[in-house]
Amino acid sequence: MKRTAFAAVSAFALMASNVAVAEPQAEVLHWWTSGGEAKSVAVLQEEFSSKGGTWTDMPVAGGGGDAAMTALRARVLSGNAPTAVQLKGPAIQEWYEEGVLADISAVADANGWADVLPESIASHMKCEGTWCAAPVNVHRIDWIWANASVLEANGITMPTTWDEFNAAADTLLAAGVIPLAHGGQAWQDATVFEAVALGVLGPDGFKKAFVDLDTDTLTSDGMVAVFDQMRKMRGYVDENFSGRDWNLATAMVMNGEAAFQIMGDWAKGEFLAAGKVPGEDFLCQSTPGDGFLYNVDSFAMFTVDGDDKKAGQDLLAELIVGQNFQKVFNLNKGSIPARIDVALDDFDSCAHTSSADMKASSEGGSLLPSYAHGMALRGAQAGAITDVVTAHFNSDMSSADAVQMLAEGVANSM
């Protein structure tokens, strides 16, 4: 009894003092808990504290964010949402529709976000015209990584068309090298699938199929060709691929067991951590075809009560999109800054390629959201597509059947 009374009094005192000075408060829910990521968040935390704010860290690891989403749901349902939550893509809009996101347009306008963020990325950060989230980074998905010495030993150059890739893979197979390092997990199957789809369908076709969910495109001959290429890819994968983690697949490329890997640019972090040099030990190039598939991590801002929390939210948003954090964070994480005016002097050559391609494709209209990483579609629709992709890749299903199932699955997920 005594203790609760004491707690109540001290909580009241704490509240009173906060109201008096409106010291910025932020509770941040995220799942960046592994080495490089945790270091990156610590940078933001320090910056926030140095501006006089109090940061309450709420890391929820596990399940690629599933655990964090469960925690978030519980917090929102109990009417006590965190200040900012690591969310991305259509999930931001889904939470907005539940009526729990805040408007941070004042910060965005004051800092000129509209001028420094590519338009298609900025559109994810807006909820019906007002800014409701702050972007952290841009991961590129459609990368193909290769072991330089394996390619050289077999007289292969980086493929620029899927036919070239197939020819290179056949040469490697004959030489007894695994052509494609891959892990048989649904999201990895989907990652390869969307890189192939972007190459075969082209940026316009990709947008129609995986952003607009256009039935004609989903059932087109082009889509059959995509699944045909996936069937070929299945032959280029070793037989132990089921359930392998992506970083183990990257290690196979690193030690020369396999030649290529198709994976987002977090794979670069693995190469760099092992002391490999881009351009010498390993090569990076966009997968055959035009376009740029992005996966943008961001923090969505939830409605909070109290001036101190609102002040914290505004400060946090400002810092996240600030030059310093964008640079330091992305150096740690292997991605590139979301804002286009950050100096890239300290970044490696792959990041330079990525940044140049992002600017070019943004102007050309081929800067597209990744479906496999939850940027293009809502969970239910993206999941329905992944179900078909992974079922096709792991069985002897025909491409025509897969296309049929794709259309039915998407219709059923609405």
């Binding site: 999930a91 939470w95 997990q185 069985s395 997920s413």
Partner: protein, 290 residues
């Protein structure tokens, strides 16, 4: 006063747990049933829309796979675990010298969590790491044992691991049953010169009916709620070839933000449990009333 207490104390003591069960079991079943009739996505909504979630569920090929897997896995797991458990129990029942030690050895898998069992079997069954690689390194280059990565056979690896985990426990159940059969009857049969296998098949096993029933109920509910073993062993893969209703429900509720779908699959899972448990309860109650 004491009289009042005497009559009411039992009710008062039972009331909290009764209320807890009412709210947390039946209350939440009702809540799930309600949500399964709505179009809930990320957060639960409460406007009833009819049976749309069930239509979606039955149109989904992934759910088909999950339900088929449940029947394949459930049937094989229960039958094999019971047959193996009974066999082990009978062999142990032959008054052998190191019974205590052997019993402990067979019971040990039960002490492991399903996650550990699943991970260990994942390594044992991995073609490039486990049995296949070992036998090939002995010189049998054509030996192939790739069930884990073969979508048509992967579900049987789950049966294998689950049987390994549970048959020792079933053995212990049956052993207790065998020991509880009246020694006098067995001795009388032995005096009459009836062969041992006849004693087992005609006297001992038929008198163990209740033990069979409890073993069946325990194994059946283990099979239906199986989740961690699948996650650890195959992660539902290759593709979604080893999905079970429980993993389907988890994916819908927590990865895809499709709570309505998850609720409807939970209701179907509950119906499956009911079709097994209700006849059992009915026969139990009728036996008591007779």
């Amino acid at each position: 006063m004491t009289k009042w207490l005497e009559t009411h104390l039992p009710k008062m003591v039972l009331a909290p747990s009764f209320i807890a069960v009412l709210v947390f079991v039946y209350g939440f079943i009702a809540w799930t049933a309600w949500v399964s009739l709505t179009r809930s996505r990320l957060l639960p909504k409460y406007e009833i829309e009819g049976f749309i979630q069930y239509e979606r569920l039955f149109a989904s090929p992934r759910w088909d796979t999950a339900i088929n897997n449940l029947f394949i896995f459930g049937a094989l797991f229960i039958i094999i675990a019971m047959v193996l458990g009974l066999l082990l129990a009978i062999l142990l029942d032959q008054k052998i010298r190191t019974e205590g030690m052997i019993r402990t050895i067979y019971l040990y898998p039960m002490a492991l969590s399903m996650i550990v069992t699943g991970t260990a079997w994942k390594w044992i069954l991995n073609p490039g790491l486990g049995i296949q690689a070992t036998v090939r390194s002995w010189g049998f280059e054509n030996f192939s044992f790739d069930w884990l990565v073969n979508p048509d056979f992967a579900i049987y690896t789950i049966v294998l691991a689950a049987v390994w985990q549970s048959s020792g426990f079933v053995m212990a159940l049956f052993l207790a049953g065998l020991r509880s059969v009246d020694e006098e009857i067995i001795k009388a049969a032995q005096v009459d010169g009836i062969p041992t296998w006849r004693i087992y098949s005609a006297i001992i096993i038929p008198s163990m009916g209740p033990i069979f029933m409890s073993a069946f109920i325990v194994l059946a509910h283990l099979a239906i709620k199986s989740f961690d073993l699948v996650i650890a062993l195959t992660g539902g893969g290759p593709g979604y070839a080893t999905d079970l209703p429980a993993t389907y429900m988890y994916a819908m509720a927590f990865s895809r933000g499709d709570i309505g779908q998850a609720a409807s699959s939970a209701m179907i899972m509950m119906l499956v449990v009911f079709t097994i448990v209700v006849p059992y309860l009915y026969s139990e109650l009728r036996a008591k009333n007779d």
